[in-house]
C-alpha cells in the first residue's frame, strides 16, 4: 500500500462505502434530483399560458365584439368572467380570481367608426409585478395586431408595428430552455456540495478523522481521497441530468461536448473544494449541512439562475465573481443554445480553475491546522 495511487483509491473507496452503505443515503443521491429536474423543469417558467381575465364590456358594437373575440381566441388567455358592473372589478382582482380586467367603455365602437382612437383600459394585479408585466405584453401584442389589421382594411397609414424581430439561440423564446439548463447546474451543485461537506465532518463527529491524520498518509492524499467521491458522483449525476435535458426536454445541444464536460469538471472541482473547506471548518455534520446551505443559497441567487446578473447593483455584481455556479451556467447555456466551444468560453474556465485551486489548497491547510 505504499504507492500513493493505491492509497488514494483505497481512501476514495472507503468514502464511497461510507456514503453508499446506507439505503436512504443511496436513495437521496438518485431519486430526488431526477424528480426535481422533472418537476421544476415544468414548474419554473416565465411563460404565461393561462392568464385569467375578466372582461367588462359596456359597448355593444362590432368593434368591441371583434376585440373580445381576439382576446378569447388567444391560446394564452382564459376569459373567466364577463362582468356587468364596475363594482365587480375590485372584488375579482382583490381575491385573485383574475390577473387582469379589461374595461371597454360604451363609446368604444362608435369612436372607432368615426375614425378616431378609442381607449381600452386594463387593470392588472401587481402583487407579482413580473407576471403582470408579461401579461400586459401579451395583450399589447394582440391589440397591435388588431390595430394593424384595421388600418390595413381602411387603407390608412397604420402604425409600423411590425419590427422584423428575431431571437437568436432560443428562437421561440422557451423559458424552459433557460431554466432547465440552470437546474442542471443547481442540482449537481447541491448534491456534490452536501456529499463533500459531510465527508470530513462525519469523521470528525465520530472521532475517526484524528486517527486518519495520525496515519502515515500525507494530508494531500487524504484530500484527494475525500475529493474523488464528490467529483465522481457530481460527474455521473450531471451526465444523467444533461441526458434528460436533451432526451426528455428536447433542448438542443449545439455546442462542444468537450467544453461542456471540461466546464462541468472545473465547476465540480470548485464545488468539491468549497465543500471540503466547509467540512474542514465544521465539527459536526449538522454544522456541515448548514454551512453548505449558507454557501448554497447566495450562490444560487447570485448565479443568474433566475434573475439576470446585469440587473444587480455593481457591488453585488462584484460578489458574483467568486460564484462558480455563475461561470458554469454561462457555459452550459452557451453550449446548449449558442453552440459555444472552448474558444468562446475560455473566459469562463479559468476563474473556476482559480476558485478550485484556492479552495482545495485552503481545505488542505485547514485539515492540518484545525484540530480539536
Amino acid at each position: 500500500m505504499n504507492s500513493p495511487f493505491l492509497l488514494i483509491i483505497a481512501l476514495a473507496l472507503k468514502e464511497f462505502l461510507a456514503l453508499l452503505r446506507d439505503k436512504s443515503s443511496r436513495f437521496v443521491l438518485i431519486g430526488p434530483p431526477i424528480a426535481q429536474l422533472l418537476v421544476f423543469g415544468y414548474a419554473a417558467s416565465y411563460d404565461l399560458d393561462n392568464i385569467s381575465v375578466a372582461i367588462y364590456n359596456e359597448d355593444r358594437g362590432i368593434a368591441s365584439r371583434e376585440l373580445v373575440g381576439r382576446i378569447e381566441g388567444s391560446p394564452n388567455i382564459n376569459v373567466l368572467y364577463r362582468i356587468q358592473k364596475e363594482s365587480e372589478i375590485a372584488g375579482l382582482i382583490d381575491n385573485r380570481d383574475v390577473l387582469l380586467v379589461m374595461h371597454i367603455d360604451s363609446e368604444f365602437s362608435a369612436t372607432i367608426a368615426k375614425g378616431e382612437s378609442a381607449t381600452v383600459q386594463l387593470l392588472l394585479d401587481g402583487r407579482n409585478s413580473n407576471t403582470a408585466m408579461i401579461a400586459l405584453n401579451y395583450l399589447r401584442d394582440i391589440i397591435l395586431q388588431l390595430n394593424r389589421q384595421w388600418s390595413d382594411q381602411k387603407q390608412a397609414r397604420g402604425p409600423p408595428a411590425i419590427i422584423e424581430a428575431r431571437a437568436w439561440y432560443n428562437e421561440n423564446l422557451h423559458s424552459q430552455w433557460f431554466i432547465v439548463t440552470g437546474i442542471v447546474g443547481l442540482l449537481t451543485l447541491v448534491v456534490t456540495l452536501i456529499v463533500t461537506a459531510l465527508s470530513v465532518a462525519r469523521e470528525r463527529e465520530q472521532g475517526t478523522f484524528d486517527q486518519l491524520l495520525v496515519t502515515p498518509v500525507h494530508p494531500v492524499f487524504i484530500l484527494i481521497g475525500k475529493a474523488l467521491p464528490g467529483l465522481l458522483i457530481g460527474l455521473i449525476e450531471g451526465g444523467v441530468i444533461i441526458t434528460l435535458a436533451v432526451g426528455w426536454f428536447d433542448i438542443p445541444l449545439r455546442g462542444s461536448f468537450v467544453a461542456l464536460y471540461l466546464g462541468l469538471f472545473l465547476f465540480l472541482l470548485s464545488a468539491v473544494g468549497i465543500g471540503l473547506m466547509i467540512s474542514a471548518i465544521c465539527i459536526t455534520q449538522q454544522q456541515a449541512v448548514l454551512g453548505a446551505f449558507l454557501f448554497l443559497v447566495p450562490a444560487v441567487i447570485l448565479s443568474g439562475f433566475a434573475t439576470p446578473i446585469a440587473n444587480m447593483p455593481d457591488v453585488v455584481q462584484l460578489l458574483t465573481w467568486i460564484d462558480p455556479l455563475k461561470y458554469f451556467l454561462v457555459i452550459i447555456r452557451s453550449v446548449f443554445m449558442e453552440g459555444g466551444d472552448l474558444g468562446l468560453l475560455w473566459p469562463q474556465f479559468w476563474p473556476m480553475a482559480i476558485i478550485a485551486a484556492l479552495s482545495l489548497a485552503m481545505a488542505g491547510w485547514l485539515f492540518k491546522h484545525r484540530m480539536y
Partner: protein, 374 residues
Amino acid sequence: MTTAGRQRLAGLIRKESLQIMRDPSSIAIAFVLPVVLLFLFGYGVSLDARNIPIGIVVEQPDASTQSLSGSFEKSDYFSPFYFQTIQQAERALEQRDIDGIVWLKNDFARKLFSQPDAVIAVRVNGVNSNQANLTLGYIRGTWLAWITHQAEARGTKLEMPIQLEHRVWFNPAVDSRFFLVPGVVAIIMTLIGTLLTALVVAREWDRGTMEALFVTPLRNHEFIAGKLIPYFVLGITSLFVNFLLAIWLFKVPFEGSLWLLLLTGSLYMLVSLAVGLLISVVAKNQFVAGQIAIITGFLPAFILSGFIFDINSMPAAIQLITHIVPARYFVAILQTLFLAGDIWPVILANTGALLILLAVFSWLVAKKTRKSLE
C-alpha cells in the same frame, strides 16, 4: 399539566435553546442567513431590466437615424453601443457584449414613411427568454413612441384605432422588490422551521440520544412541545425582524394588519415545524434529513410557491403538487397582506389550507414518533 410535567417541559425547552445558542451554525441559519437573504432580494436581485446593452447599427446616418438613436439613449432601459456594420454588431452579440441589436439599414430614411413594411430589424439573444421578451417589448415601445412623434411632427397622423391604457394595482411603480421581499419572509421561515428543526432532531437519532429521551418520564406531547417551542420563538422573532426591515429599509408598503400577519405567520411556522419534525423522524440520519429538507422544503418554497413563477401557468400535474407545498399559501397571504391589505377571501382560503396541512402533518408526526422505536 402537572407541576412535574411543566418542569419536564421547561427542562427540555432549556436544553433545546442552549443547543441552538451554542452552535454557531444554527445561529448562522437563524440570524445571519435571513439578513443575507433579505438584503440579496431587497438590493441584489431584480427582474426589472435597466440599462440593457444594445447595439445600434446605423448604415447611413442622417437626421432621422440620429433622432431614433437619441430616443434609445434617453431611455432608462437601454445603454446603446454603435456599430458601422451588422457583422460587427453580430459578433458583439455572439460574445455576449450586447443583448440585442437594432439595425437601421441604409434605406431607412427613404422607406420610413413610404411603405408599410418593416424598416428596422431587431435581433436579441434569446438564451434568457424572459429577459429577451422584456427587451423586445422595450424596443418596440421606444420605436412606437418615436414613430408616433415623428408622424406628428410631419403633420400626418398614424392610425391607431385602439389605445391601450393600463394601471397596475398594488404596485403601481412595478418594482419587483415589492413582491420578492415579502416572498423571502416565507422562505426564511421555511428554513428555520423545516431545515433547522429536521437537522437538530435527526442528530438526536444519529447519536442515540433520542432513545435516551424516550425512557425519561417525558410524555409524547411534552416532547413535541419542548422540541418545537424554541424554534417557534426563533421563527416568529425572525418574522418580526424581517417585517421591520422590509418596511423600513426596503420601503415595501404594508397595507394589511399586523395581528393578521402574526397570526398567519404563527400558523405557517407550526406547519413548517411539523414538516421538519416529520422529516427528522422519517430520516433519522442527518445527511438524509438535510437533503430531504432542502429538496422538499426549501426548493419548493422557491419554485413551487408562486413566489417567482406563476402557478396558473404550470402543467396541471404540477399545480396539484403545489397544493401540498405550505409555502404556496403563505406566499399568497404575505403578498396580499403587504401589497393589497386584509382581503378576507384570500386570507381565509389560504389560512384554511394551512390548517388542513397542519392537521395532516401533525397526525403523521404523532403516528411516526410512536412507532419509531420498534
